[in-house]
C-alpha cells in the first residue's frame, strides 16, 4: 500500500533498481524548462530528497540554472519538474531553464528556443510542460517553432513535451464541436508524453488512462511518416472511435509515450503536498528514464538517443508497458458525452505506446 506517488513508487513501478542511477563518470546531463513564472527552491529539493530519496543515489542540487531564479514563493510545477527529473534520472547532472527572457515584452518559450540556438553544448534530454491550443497560434509561428524542433533533432537533442491536461480538448466553431489539439505536443519533431493512473491508487498496479491525458490529431501537421502504420492500425481497430467530424484523422497523432501523471507528492515552500496530478508530472519522469538510457549508451561509446520517435515507432513501442484501459475526456455534450479517444492494444492517442519498463526499454535502446 502507498499514499501517493513518490520516487520510490516510480522506481518500483518502472523497475528501476538502486543501481539504475547516473554513474557520475560521464558528461551526461538533462534539463527541464520552466515558462510559467515559477521558480524552484534548492531547499525544497534538499527536503524532498531527504524525505523520498533514501533508497537511490542522487544529486542534492541542480547543476546549472539558465535564466533568473526569482525571489519569493516556489511554484509547484517548477518544484515537481526538478524533483522528479532528478529522481527518475537520478544522479545525473541537471540543468534548469528558468523563465528565460524575463523582460515584460518577451515570450519565455521563444527565448528558450533562442537559447537552444545559441549554446553548442546542451544536455541531450530536455523536458518542457508547455502547450497552447493549436488554433490560437498563427501558422507562421507554429511552422517556425516546428523548424526549431527540427534543428534540435538534427543535433541529437531529445525534446519531451507534456501532452496537456485536457484530454482530447474541445471547442466549437459555428456551432459544431471538435476536439482541440495542443502545440508543441502536436509537432512531429518532439516526443509527447501522456499520463496514466494506477488502477488502484493505493497500490503499485498496472496503469490505466488518466482521464486528463492530452492526445489527438493535429489540424496543422500531417501524420508523421514514422507513425503511419501504428496510427492506421489504431484507426482501423479501435472499437470506440469518436465521430470523424471531431478530429483530423490524417493529422500528426500524439502522444507518443506516457508515464504516471496522477497523485504525486511534491515538496514546495518546505511543505510536502500530496495528490498533485498532470502530464507535467509524467514528462520529467519519462525524461529522467531516457537520461538513464543515455548514460548506458555513453558508457558504451554510443551517441545519445536524439529524436526518439522514428526508433520508438519502428520498434512498435518495445520496452513499454502497454496501457489498454480507459478513455480520456473531451466535449461535454450529448454526442460524445465527455469521452474522447480510448486506449487499446499498441499505440493509441491517449497513452501512445505506453509507460516505461526500464530494463526492457534499455535493452531495446542500448544498441545501435
Amino acid at each position: 500500500l502507498h499514499l501517493g506517488v513518490t520516487p520510490s513508487i516510480i522506481r518500483k513501478r518502472y523497475n528501476l533498481t538502486a543501481q539504475d542511477v547516473g554513474s557520475g563518470t560521464t558528461n551526461n546531463s538533462q534539463a527541464c524548462a520552466q515558462f510559467l513564472e515559477q521558480y524552484f527552491h534548492d531547499s525544497d529539493l534538499a527536503e524532498f530528497m531527504q524525505l523520498f530519496g533514501g533508497d537511490f543515489a542522487h544529486q542534492a542540487s541542480v547543476a546549472h540554472v539558465v535564466g533568473q531564479q526569482g525571489r519569493g514563493r516556489a511554484g509547484i510545477e517548477a518544484s515537481l519538474d526538478v524533483e522528479y527529473l532528478m529522481s527518475a534520472g537520478a544522479n545525473i547532472s541537471t540543468w534548469v531553464y528558468s523563465n528565460p527572457g524575463r523582460h515584460e515584452s518577451q515570450e519565455p518559450f521563444l527565448q528558450w528556443l533562442l537559447l537552444l540556438s545559441n549554446e553548442s553544448a546542451l544536455p541531450p534530454v530536455h523536458t518542457a510542460s508547455y502547450g497552447d491550443d493549436e488554433d490560437s497560434l498563427s501558422s507562421a509561428y507554429i511552422q517556425r517553432v516546428n523548424t526549431e524542433f527540427m534543428k534540435a533533432a538534427a543535433r541529437g537533442l531529445t525534446l519531451l513535451f507534456a501532452s496537456g491536461d485536457s484530454g482530447a480538448g474541445c471547442w466549437s466553431t459555428s456551432g459544431r464541436h471538435q476536439f482541440r489539439p495542443s502545440f508543441p505536443a502536436s509537432s512531429p519533431y518532439v516526443t509527447t508524453v501522456g499520463g496514466t493512473s494506477f488502477q488502484n491508487p493505493f497500490r503499485i498496479t498496472n496503469e490505466i488512462v488518466d482521464y486528463i491525458s492530452g492526445g489527438g490529431f493535429s489540424n496543422v501537421f500531417p501524420r508523421a511518416p514514422y507513425q503511419e502504420e501504428a496510427v492506421a492500425k489504431f484507426l482501423s481497430s479501435s472499437p470506440k472511435l469518436p465521430p470523424s467530424s471531431y478530429f483530423n484523422a490524417s493529422g500528426r497523432a500524439y502522444p507518443d509515450v506516457a508515464a504516471l501523471s496522477d497523485g504525486y507528492w511534491v515538496v514546495s515552500n518546505r511543505v510536502p503536498i500530496p495528490w498533485v496530478s498532470g502530464t507535467s508530472a509524467s514528462t520529467p519522469v519519462f525524461g529522467g528514464i531516457l537520461s538513464l538510457i543515455n548514460e548506458h549508451r555513453i558508457l558504451n561509446g554510443r551517441p545519445p538517443l536524439g529524436f526518439l520517435n522514428p526508433r520508438l515507432y519502428q520498434q512498435h513501442g518495445a520496452g513499454l508497458f502497454d496501457v489498454t484501459r480507459g478513455c480520456h475526456e473531451s466535449c461535454l455534450n450529448e454526442e460524445v458525452q465527455g469521452q474522447g479517444f480510448c486506449s487499446g492494444p499498441g499505440w493509441d492517442p491517449v497513452t501512445g505506446w505506453g509507460t516505461p519498463n526500464f530494463p526492457a526499454l534499455l535493452k531495446t535502446l542500448i544498441d545501435p
Partner: protein, 176 residues
C-alpha cells in the same frame, strides 16, 4: 504592408487584465524570427540521424553545422538590419544560427516600426506577472515579407500551469 500573423489569436486569455497603454519612452525587447534557408533539407537530415536503419544514425550535427545549413541569406540579414537601424533600433543581439534577432527599442519606435501595434501592460497569472503585449495586430513593410517569419513579444501570453491537486481517491472504494 502585410500581416505576418493574421491568424494569431488576439483575445485576452482568462485571468489577464489590461493596465493601460505603456509609456512611449519605455523600453521593449522584441524578437525577430528571420527567414531561414535550406529548410527543405531538414526533414531528410533529421530522418537520417534518427532512424536506426540509416547509415548516418546517431551522427548528429553540431550547432555550427546546423547554423551553416539554415543561416538566413546575406540579403535577408542586410535587409532586416537596415530596416531596424533606420527605425532607430539599437542593441540588437543575434544567436549562433543568426536566424533570430532580439532588439531593444522604445515603445514609440516599436509602434512606428510595427504599424498597427499598440503596446499595453497586463497583469495576470498566479504570480501576478506583468507583461507587455499588443492587443492589435502588427504589420510589416511588404519588402520584408520574404525575410521575416514573425515578430515575437507582441501577442502570446505566458501559459498557466494545468497541474492540479486532486481530491484524495476514495479509500474504501478502491482499496476494497
Amino acid at each position: 504592408t502585410y500581416s505576418p500573423e493574421p491568424d494569431q489569436q488576439l483575445t485576452l486569455p482568462p485571468g489577464w487584465v489590461s493596465l493601460g497603454r505603456v509609456d512611449p519612452e519605455e523600453d521593449l525587447s522584441l524578437t525577430f524570427a528571420l527567414r531561414q534557408q535550406n529548410l527543405e533539407r531538414l526533414p531528410k537530415l533529421v530522418q537520417a540521424v534518427s532512424d536506426p536503419g540509416s547509415p548516418r544514425y546517431g551522427k548528429y550535427l553540431s550547432l555550427e553545422e546546423v547554423a551553416e545549413l539554415v543561416r538566413p541569406s546575406p540579403l535577408t540579414l542586410h535587409t532586416v538590419q537596415k530596416w531596424l537601424l533606420a527605425a532607430g533600433a539599437r542593441n540588437c543581439q543575434s544567436v549562433i544560427t543568426q536566424d533570430f534577432l532580439t532588439c531593444r527599442m522604445s515603445v514609440r519606435q516599436a509602434e512606428l516600426l510595427l504599424s498597427g501595434s499598440e503596446f499595453h501592460r497586463y497583469v495576470g497569472g498566479p504570480a501576478e506577472t506583468h507583461v507587455v503585449r499588443s492587443p492589435r495586430p502588427y504589420r510589416l513593410p511588404k519588402a520584408l515579407a520574404s525575410h521575416v517569419d514573425f515578430v515575437g513579444g507582441l501577442h502570446r501570453f505566458p501559459p498557466t500551469s494545468s497541474l492540479r491537486q486532486r481530491p484524495e481517491p476514495q479509500a474504501a472504494e478502491t482499496v476494497g
